[in-house]
């Protein structure tokens, strides 16, 4: 049985850059416990000595020519930014 504490949940949420409100904690915790308990069935599978499958075509390495391709529509790239300045994304000051 998975046993996740409130502190652990809040730690995970912080790692994922999500806030969880005080009144939401119990609900998220219950859901997470439920799903993890359900997911534990994988431990019944005999996987001794088995490799992990990471992707579908993971045996293949795909190369392409190292050529620069210019995406010309810079304006379109920036159009979705909430704040921009001189063709750049603007963020709050990081170094005080």
């Amino acid at each position: 049985m998975a046993n996740v504490s409130k502190e652990e949940l809040l730690h995970i949420a912080r790692l994922a850059d999500l806030n969880i409100n005080y009144e939401e904690i119990d609900n998220y915790l219950a859901n997470l416990q439920d799903i993890l308990n359900f997911a534990e069935v994988v431990n019944n599978a005999n996987t001794e000595g088995l490799e992990e499958t990471i992707g579908e075509n993971d045996k293949v390495n795909v190369f392409r020519k190292d050529e620069i391709k210019v995406f010309e529509d810079n304006k379109a790239l920036l159009q979705n930014a909430k704040e921009q300045e001189r063709n750049m994304f603007k963020i709050p000051k990081v170094i005080q």
Binding site: I12, L15, D17, T47, E52, T53, I91
Partner: protein, 513 residues
């Protein structure tokens, strides 16, 4: 001057045809291959076809709520241009001028692509997805962007930030998900066909719930470039259509190598319509018994058994088999899918695009507040689960173990396909359920995917076609699974059943004309 008799006759003949055409031909009821034929022999123009769909959308969309964005004016304008091009002989394909609907997680240049999320509420894609580019190259007409579960996470389309889509067979029920808008729009004849995406059943399950055809291609057959990523090792784009022939035609359009998606497979182009022979004599069909056991609704089972009898009658060799991994598949899927989602959705930070919180005092808070406001509860739930199974201390027990089980799943399918051409299962354990009955219980919602997820885990192709309705006139879907890149076999098997059973001639959504 009196016109010659011939001239007068011709004039009236044309007028007569037009009148009778208007009365007899119900445009939105036609399949795409029928529309193509009528476009080809000048019985219909693209403008007439597009207008019929626009009228239908104006009339019925308010009941179905399949669209996030409609592009009716743009569609009509494009249709006129294509008709002119066709008149002057300057047309590239017989698909030119056919309308289509596109799931709202596929980037469309200059048009909103929201993923049905508050996070991307006003996001305008700066480029087209490869599949959208393919459609544009053939001069198809985009009627709009279709509703879905937020970021494709869900099985009912109830997790859309914008609206709940109704099932045209019963407006109180869900259309399935996550491509619920696509399936409902095709079933309600708001679009002739649509594109969806499938990570764990998101094309096949809504197709099953809405009584239409849904194909999830082999992983790597269709480029994912421009598809907003949910779980990159599982996602595939595919067609949702009225019949199997249309699915083959649309697959022809979207399949193919693309250097912008490194997982896209480099192989010669095929014409999938050529596979539709309708003959299944000697075809070896395996029936995995685990998919007919506990939890599968009795009426669903009954219709599937009838379908199996039909295949036997048509000369297929049917045998029961055991897929021992079925019991691990759903858990494996949710561990892997959520892990990948937690990583993929890390890009939404409120800086370059997406929702940005108004209140923050530093950069970290900007990220956190934007993400917390922008994502809905189910998306957050999955990000948290994914982050948990990837975090140190739990990685081995969940994520690594699931990746090993994934190898097991693939091996089991490999073994099955040494002996069988296709595997046959229900698409979903139940018919479409009532709205609101599962949306508060995530685990119960996940169970809707139990028959479909293993296909994604193993990267195989799967198709869902309708095989009957239950006592409440709700459609039931049958899933045919093929070996990698053997779309032809499942398409032909599906086609043979469709031709014999004639679902579209027998059953209609209660949501009528």
């Amino acid at each position: 001057m009196l016109k010659s008799k011939r001239e007068i006759c011709l004039k009236y003949q044309k007028l007569y045809n037009k009148m009778m055409g208007g009365i007899l031909v119900d445009i939105t009821n036609l399949t795409v291959h029928e529309l193509m034929e009528k476009l080809g022999n000048n019985e219909l123009t693209s403008e007439e076809i597009t207008k019929a769909y626009v009228d239908r959308i104006n009339d019925k969309e308010k009941d179905v709520n399949a669209f996030v964005t409609t592009l009716c004016d743009e569609a009509l304008e494009k249709a006129k241009k294509i008709d002119e091009k066709r008149k002057s002989g300057d047309i590239k394909s017989n698909l030119a001028g056919i309308p289509i609907g596109i799931k709202d997680n596929l980037c469309t240049k200059g048009v909103k692509t929201t993923c049905s999320s508050r996070m991307l509420e006003d996001f305008i894609a700066p480029y087209d997805a490869t599949v959208v580019e393919n459609l544009n190259n053939e001069d198809l007409i985009d009627l709009g962007k279709l509703n879905m579960d937020e970021f494709a996470m869900g099985a009912s389309t109830e997790y859309s930030y914008f609206k709940k889509t109704s099932n045209p067979w019963n407006l109180k029920r869900v259309p399935g998900g996550s491509s619920g808008g696509s399936a409902a729009a095709v079933a309600a004849e708001l679009v002739p066909w649509a594109l969806g995406s499938d990570t764990g059943g998101s094309i096949r399950q809504p197709a099953s719930f809405c009584g239409v055809v849904g194909l999830k291609p082999t992983y790597g057959l269709v480029s994912r470039y421009g598809l907003v990523a949910f779980a990159s090792s599982l996602d595939q784009i595919g067609p949702i259509t009225k019949d199997v022939t249309d699915a083959a035609i649309l697959l022809n359009l979207i399949a193919g190598h693309d250097e912008r998606d490194t997982t896209s497979y480099d192989m010669p182009k095929k014409d999938y319509t050529k596979a539709l022979k309708g003959d299944v004599k000697g075809l070896k069909i395996g029936i995995p018994k685990e998919y007919f056991g506990e939890g599968i609704n009795e009426e669903v089972k009954e219709k599937l058994e009838e379908a199996i009898e039909t295949y036997k009658k048509l000369g297929a060799e049917v045998e029961e088999i055991s897929l021992d991994i079925a019991k691990y598949a759903l858990a494996t899927y949710y561990i892997i899918a959520c892990a990948e989602a937690s990583s993929n959705l890390g890009r939404f930070d409120g800086i370059r695009y997406g929702h940005r919180a108004e209140n923050f005092s530093n950069l970290k808070e900007l990220y956190r507040n934007s993400r917390s406001e922008g994502f809905g509860a189910e998306v957050k739930r999955r990000i948290i689960l994914g982050t948990y199974v990837l975090s140190s201390g739990y990685y081995d027990a969940y994520y690594k173990k699931a990746q090993q089980v994934r190898t097991l799943v693939k091996r089991e399918f490999d073994k099955a396909f040494e002996k069988y051409d296709v595997l046959l299962t229900p698409t979903s354990p139940t018919v479409a359920f009532e709205m609101g009955t599962r949306s508060n219980n995530p685990l119960e919602m996940y169970l809707a995917d139990i028959c479909t997820v293993s296909v994604n885990i193993a990267g195989l192709p799967g198709i869902s076609i309708p095989c009957g309705v239950n006592s409440e006139n709700m459609p039931i879907g049958m899933q045919l699974i093929g070996n990698k890149f053997e779309e032809e076999k499942i398409l032909n098997a599906a086609y043979a059943f469709e031709k014999e059973y004639r679902f579209r001639d027998k059953f209609r959504p209660s949501f009528g004309k």
